[in-house]
Amino acid sequence: MKGFRLIWRKSVNMVMLTLTGVAAFAVVSVLFLILGYLVYYGGRSLNWNFFTQLPKPVGETGGGMANAIVGSAKLLFLAAVIGLPIGLLGGVYLAEFGGKTFGFVVRYTTDLLNGVPSIIMGIFAYSLVVVPMRHFSTLAGGVALGIMTIPISLRSTEEFLRAVPVSLREGAMALGSNRWKTIATVVLPAARGGIITGMLLALARVAGETAPLLFTAFGNQFWSPGWNQPISSLPVVIYTYAISPYDDWHRQAWAAGLVLLGLVFVTNIVVRTFLMRGTSYERS
């Protein structure tokens, strides 16, 4: 009886432990499945025209997404200009000056903003920019994405600043430097790698966002000069092409998906392996 019980317990042990391994393997293989599908379908449709030409009207095959690629770049640039300074300086405030109560409020609000569904950010940017301007614009899309970069860049800036040893600050102070000079010339450069990591990861995250762009940047079949008109972007084009009934558009959507995923993965891998150097970055 006792022997049977032991065998039972040991077999439960074996089965459950094997199952956990299977689960881990399954999740990781999903990643490679996703990559495989995109490389297979996207790679077949990807060609030079994709990067250099404008979309062709429905019915004509060929054409590319040059305007969407440039559009995504412009939107990311705006997002960086709007969001990253707030993330950086807000992070400096939390790490260097933050009072207990207000620091807590800012930190909590940042976490809150990080959890807000991206579609809500779209509504926000819509009522903030599109409604007063009365039309969709690059600017509105940039504002939506910019706000979304704040939480990640702010929290990582704070974390990496806090990781800078106190002795470094004391050394600078002992040499007669005052506080802001210490921060600007000693602390920030010491934490540079980590801060840039956080910023790039924040940009990589918003680069793939579609929902906040649907009714802010909207979309555009042509080039969008300036910052004042609706603009095309890779994620939105993938969405509209994927739900369209045209085979040629599906093909283009796969190609755009491959480009977008490649961009996001390369940024993530490069940033995490080269800039991190063993520091721990808090995922949110």
Binding site: V27, V28, G90, I119, W180, W254
Partner: protein, 321 residues
């Protein structure tokens, strides 16, 4: 002698400038930090204000009405709430066991080097944009659902109302499956880190008492980490509720409440994404924004609870060690 007075005076002025430099730096960073609080306040204000028309028109009835009729401007949110809850719960039913098992494997069984490498891959999985999941959903999962998974489930459980009715490929179940893949990385990475902080002595004590590896994990390590794991599940739930693009692309976009998991449905985020740009009329737009307000409040509460739970585990640990 006469010349020294101004020089010492200017030194003091210089010192004062230095001091004000600190004050200026403090003020500037404070303004930027405060702007985040301002943004969040403005967000709530805008959602509240812009949904006023709908709130006044429909009151609480908005939440219990099933009709969604833009032509006659009659709006009820129930089908969307139903769809959001069903897809999110389905996602959790799949993702929680899978994610927890994978986290146990990474934290308890595999060597640290492999565990870190796999955790890196899981982070990459979390970085895949949701529109890519939608793309794969439309062209890979939906056909698979129509030809393979759906019929198989029907053969096995067809007697249940949940698995009856026509199977179009798009619907609650497809959306739930896609969502589960999207939230599983969050469960794994948070749970794994929490499991890794469980003290070694806990495991050793259980093993020394004759427990098998699995028993020590299931009866000692998991209960110890329970609060934090619950937190990670709440985080995942908040993600699932607010997820827009992938769900929009595979749920079928039909505002009806149906028993069958194969049936097409609609979620809050999906209806906002689909109808916002074509919303003509103040009431229509305001009804959509009210839906957004509720989605915001839901995720806000869930995220807050998740943070508190994860924080509670961490402070517990501080007390114990």
């Amino acid at each position: 002698m006469a010349k020294r007075a101004p020089s010492s005076w200017s030194v003091r002025a210089y010192l004062r400038r230095l001091a004000t430099g600190d004050v200026v730096a403090h003020m500037v960073t404070l303004i930027f930090a405060a702007s985040i609080v301002l943004i969040a306040t403005l967000l709530v204000f805008q959602l509240w204000n812009n949904s006023a028309a709908s709130r006044q028109q429909f009151g609480w009835g908005f939440w219990t009405t099933q009709t969604w009729d833009p032509v006659f401007e009659h709006f009820g949110a129930l089908p969307f709430i139903y769809g959001t809850l069903v897809t999110s719960v389905l996602a959790l039913i799949i993702a929680v066991p899978l994610g927890l098992a994978a986290a146990i494997f990474l934290a308890e069984l595999s060597p640290r080097v492999i565990s870190d490498k796999v955790a890196f891959l899981i982070d990459l999985l979390a970085a895949v944009p949701s529109v890519i999941y939608g793309l794969l959903g439309i062209f890979v999962v939906v056909p698979l659902m129509r030809t393979t998974i759906g019929p198989a489930l029907k053969d096995a459980f067809g007697f249940l109302p949940l698995f009856s009715g026509p199977n179009y490929g798009v619907g609650f179940l497809t959306a739930g499956i896609i969502l589960s893949i999207m939230v599983v990385p969050f469960i794994i990475s948070v749970s794994r880190e929490i499991l890794l902080t469980v003290p070694r002595e806990q495991r050793e004590a259980a093993l020394a008492l004759g427990a098998t590896r699995w028993e020590s994990t299931w009866k000692v390590v998991i209960p110890w980490a329970r609060t934090g794991i619950t937190g990670s599940i709440f985080l995942a739930l908040a993600r699932a509720l607010g997820e827009t693009m992938a769900v929009t692309m595979v749920i079928g976009n039909d505002p009806k409440i149906r028993d069958s998991l194969f049936a097409p449905g609609y979620t809050i985020a999906a209806v906002i994404a689909n109808e916002f740009t074509e919303a003509t009329g103040k009431l229509y737009l305001s009804a959509l924004i009210e839906l957004g307000l509720v989605l915001f409040l839901l995720t806000f509460i869930l995220n807050g609870m998740a943070r508190l739970l994860i924080l509670a585990t961490e402070t517990d640990r501080g007390r114990a060690s």
